[in-house]
């Protein structure tokens, strides 16, 4: 008997140190179907497709492909099994031609051992024509736009005779017209019996192109529906509605005077007319999907990137912030999203990391006063309970939570008034999270103001005094945590509803 499923995944677990990324997930894909995976950032979608495409290994569970149990150990094996993945970041060599890219690593050769250019061109032309894509096979990939590059990736997948195609947010960088073209290609692939796993944050697309949808939340499957029998509101409820079992030690601080006012900040294609204000003692939560412009907003406020238009007022005075240096002089602190890439100098000792932005305070004519540096670093290591073997321990050998505390210490040294926390608790354990929340409370109690950008809705709900939702570079809504639900925020972030509470 022929199985109607191309791919079956049973009871998949994926455990990273300290985190369960997938918890007993089962997933089935039929031939000729578009199966949508839905979930918030960190719900487990990426982990699931990484397992299917061989980019990571499952911890437990069973994968059946074409009626055979398989172990997909690496991306090469996945390709050999007919599983092709197209990531948001395309995997093409820009300097090579379309045809060379499609046949990269398995070029057809003539009898004399040279690359069979003629055959390559013929085959590629055929595939591209079947997709209805008008791309000359000899053109360089770097000369193509994103949409056409995506077509090249799809053509590549066809040329390896894929049975399953995984599309990770394929429409995020496409125009309306290009999306239509992509969808018509997807429909052609369906007719040829290819099973498609489709990830997107644009909910309206689900109903246009999807056949069935699986909702993931916190690594668990929340439901599995044919598209025609489910409502959008139901999907959102399943994505967002999680129990708040984390404890948030939120202390109410009385918001004081306005410290920061942002007016009409725009940056072409990324931020549109952003205006808001921030008060002393306040935690302003900024919610939104990855890529919605929330990190870019932080980078503009910190002077890393320039806004095209707009003004920033600090304590009612207009300021220009053209570099992080100027931001620091204006007592703004930025704890970046990725502490290892942007926050720390990993090969430096934690002491030297802590003193870096505020080094002025411990130098005399350019000479660092070692004693003062020891005292300073020692004080914050004690105050923040940073666990280290000594002040000279290298930052790279600290745990995630302690690394984050070192980054916070850097900005405490500078006596900052405004702290921008971008994903302050990503990748750190629960105990350290709670400590960082306590620190935030201490800061606001002292009169500092915090902008907290986070993908974690419970964290946003649990720690903010006020919440802004950013969607497609705009402020899509403002909420008070007491009077809204996680669903409200998610709806707003997804752009389903432009309601303002």
């Amino acid at each position: 008997m022929l199985n109607e499923y191309l791919l079956e995944m049973h009871h998949i677990n994926k455990i990273y140190p300290g985190v369960v990324a997938l918890d007993d997930v089962s997933f089935k894909l039929k031939a000729g179907m578009v199966h949508v995976l839905l979930g918030e950032n960190g719900a487990g979608k990426s982990t699931l497709i990484k397992i299917i495409s061989g980019a990571t290994l499952k911890s437990q569970g069973l994968i059946i492909l074409d009626n055979e149990e398989v172990d997909i150990l690496n991306p090469r094996e996945a390709l050999d099994l007919g599983v092709a993945t197209i990531y948001q970041e395309l995997n093409l060599v820009p300097q090579l031609t379309v045809a060379e890219n499609i046949y990269l690593g398995r070029e057809p050769v003539t009898k004399s051992g040279l690359i069979d250019q003629k055959r390559m061109m013929q085959d590629v032309t055929e595939i591209l024509n079947s997709l209805g894509a008008n791309i000359p096979p000899e053109s360089k990939v770097s000369s193509l736009g994103i949409a056409r590059q995506q077509m090249v990736e799809i053509a590549k997948a066809i040329s390896i005779q894929m049975k399953i195609l995984i599309l990770d947010e394929p429409t995020s960088a496409l125009s309306h017209h290009e999306i239509e073209q992509l969808f018509s290609v997807i429909r052609k692939l369906k007719e040829n019996g290819i099973g498609i796993i489709y990830i997107s944050h644009r909910l309206e697309e689900i109903f246009e192109i999807g056949d069935c949808v699986t909702v993931l939340r916190d690594g668990k499957v929340m439901g599995n529906f044919p598209v025609e029998s489910v409502k959008l509101s139901e999907l959102i409820r399943l994505m967002a509605d999680r129990e708040v079992h984390d404890h948030f030690p939120k202390q109410e601080a009385k918001p004081g005077a306005e410290i920061l006012q942002v007016e009409h900040i725009s940056r072409k294609g990324i931020l549109h007319d952003i205006s808001f204000s921030l008060h002393k003692g306040e935690i302003l939560g900024i919610s939104g999907l990855m890529g919605s412009g929330r990190t870019e907003l932080a980078r503009v406020l910190f002077g890393v990137e320039k806004a095209d238009t707009g003004t920033i007022f600090l304590n009612k005075k207009e300021v220009r912030i053209d570099s992080p240096r100027e931001a620091i002089q204006n007592r703004i602190a930025y704890l970046s999203e990725d502490r290892k890439v942007q926050g720390l100098i990993l090969k430096m000792s934690l002491e030297n990391n802590i003193s870096l932005p505020g080094i002025k305070g411990i130098t005399v004519i350019g000479i660092i006063r070692k004693e003062a540096e020891h005292r300073l670093a020692g004080r914050y290591v004690n105050e923040l309970h940073i666990k280290a073997t000594g002040l000279d321990q290298l930052a790279e050998s600290l745990s995630g939570g302690n690394q984050q505390k070192v980054v916070i210490a850097k900005w405490l040294v500078c006596q900052s008034d405004i702290f921008i926390f971008d994903e302050p608790t990503r990748g750190i354990d629960v105990a350290a999270k709670v400590e960082i929340y306590h620190l935030m409370n201490q800061l606001t109690a002292r009169g500092a103001a915090i902008i907290m950008i986070s993908s974690e809705l419970p964290e946003i709900m649990g720690m903010s005094d006020r919440i802004l939702v950013i969607s497609y570079g705009r402020i899509a809504g403002e909420f008070l945590p007491k009077y809204c639900s996680q669903e409200n925020l998610l709806e707003c972030a997804l752009g389903v509803d432009h309601a303002v509470n």
Binding site: V304, Q329, I345, T363, D392
Partner: protein
């Protein structure tokens, strides 16, 4: 073992290099007793000093995540300009300051090209390598400038308490360099920029200005080396210093400075420079042909880095 424990983490890496140096000395001593005579050791120190001084600048540059290929050419240019100044009757100190300034300015141009022009350090300094060489040749019309006063030559040939003057200058520069690297903002920022430039920018480090300063330091040290070389040869040659960049890079790398940036210490560089000097001298005494010498020196550089990488990987 306990003794090792008491050495700060940062300095432990240098211990291996030091053992390497002592091992080399032992080998040459066994092979030729003349090697360990005081006069030969002083000779090594004198010969090593020029490379060791250039290597200070390269250590700064490499720690800051860059590279400087132009040191040999800057040395030649600074040397002929110093000589020209002396011939014009400018006092020794003034001539020296002019020479060092020429080196600093060339280095600063490197820094500007790298920091503001966003050129890869390899390209910018490769260009300067050719420009400064051409400038040196133009300045003298291709001829060496020779014949200086005894007091100028004393800088290279003189002794004080039976140690050569260049050795004092070298040691002095290493002491100052070590202080700058470990105790001042310049040094701290060099490590920060080389370790993680993005994080340095986000921490408010004025990265561009400090790149200029660091490449300028490298140029200025080439200028100092130029003065010593000119004094020693009693002649400033526009073709002096060819391939010096490689010896200086080798000294830094053998001494544990990571070409990836963010790591390194001048103590290591000094030992590295001594290893190069001992090798050259020892092989010369043994009468080994310069063709074989080159091969051996290349092998030592590769081995030193291989061992270093192997040890680091094992630690992880």
């Amino acid at each position: 073992m306990q003794l090792i424990e008491r050495i700060p983490v940062y300095y432990r890496r240098q211990l291996g290099t030091l053992l390497g140096l002592l091992g080399l000395i032992l080998i040459f001593w066994i092979m030729t007793p003349y090697f360990l005579t005081p006069s030969n050791l002083l000779n090594i120190a004198r010969q090593t000093s020029i490379n060791a001084i250039i290597a200070i600048g390269l250590t700064f540059v490499i720690i800051a995540g860059g590279i400087d290929l132009s040191v040999g050419s800057m040395l030649a240019f600074a040397g002929v300009v110093t000589a020209g100044a002396l011939n014009l009757g400018i006092p020794i100190l003034g001539s020296m300051i002019i020479g060092i300034s020429v080196g600093f300015l060339c280095g600063a141009v490197n820094g500007v090209l790298i920091a503001w022009g966003h050129l890869p350090p390899f390209i910018a300094t490769l260009g300067m390598m050719s420009i400064a060489r051409g400038a040196a040749l133009l300045f003298t019309g291709g001829r060496p400038i020779s014949g200086f006063s005894v007091s100028f030559r004393f800088l290279a040939e003189g002794d004080f308490l039976s140690l050569p003057i260049p050795v004092y200058i070298m040691i002095g520069l290493y002491v100052v360099g070590h202080f700058v690297l470990t105790r001042t903002k310049i040094g701290r920022y060099a490590y920060a920029i080389g370790g993680n430039e993005e994080a340095a920018v986000l921490s408010g480090v004025p990265v561009k200005i400090y790149k200029l300063i660091i490449y300028g330091i490298s140029g200025a040290l080439s200028g100092i080396a130029a003065i010593l070389l000119t004094a020693r040869l009693n002649s400033a040659q526009p073709i002096a210093g060819i391939m010096y960049e490689l010896d200086a890079i080798a000294a830094a790398v053998i001494g544990g400075t990571s070409l990836m940036g963010g790591e390194g210490l001048l103590i290591g560089t000094l030992i590295g420079a001594l290893i190069m000097g001992v090798l050259r001298n020892g092989l010369n005494i043994l009468g080994i042909s310069s063709f074989i010498q080159q091969t051996i020196i290349g092998t030592v550089i590769i081995l030193a880095v291989l061992i270093d990488m192997f040890l680091k990987r094992r630690k992880k």
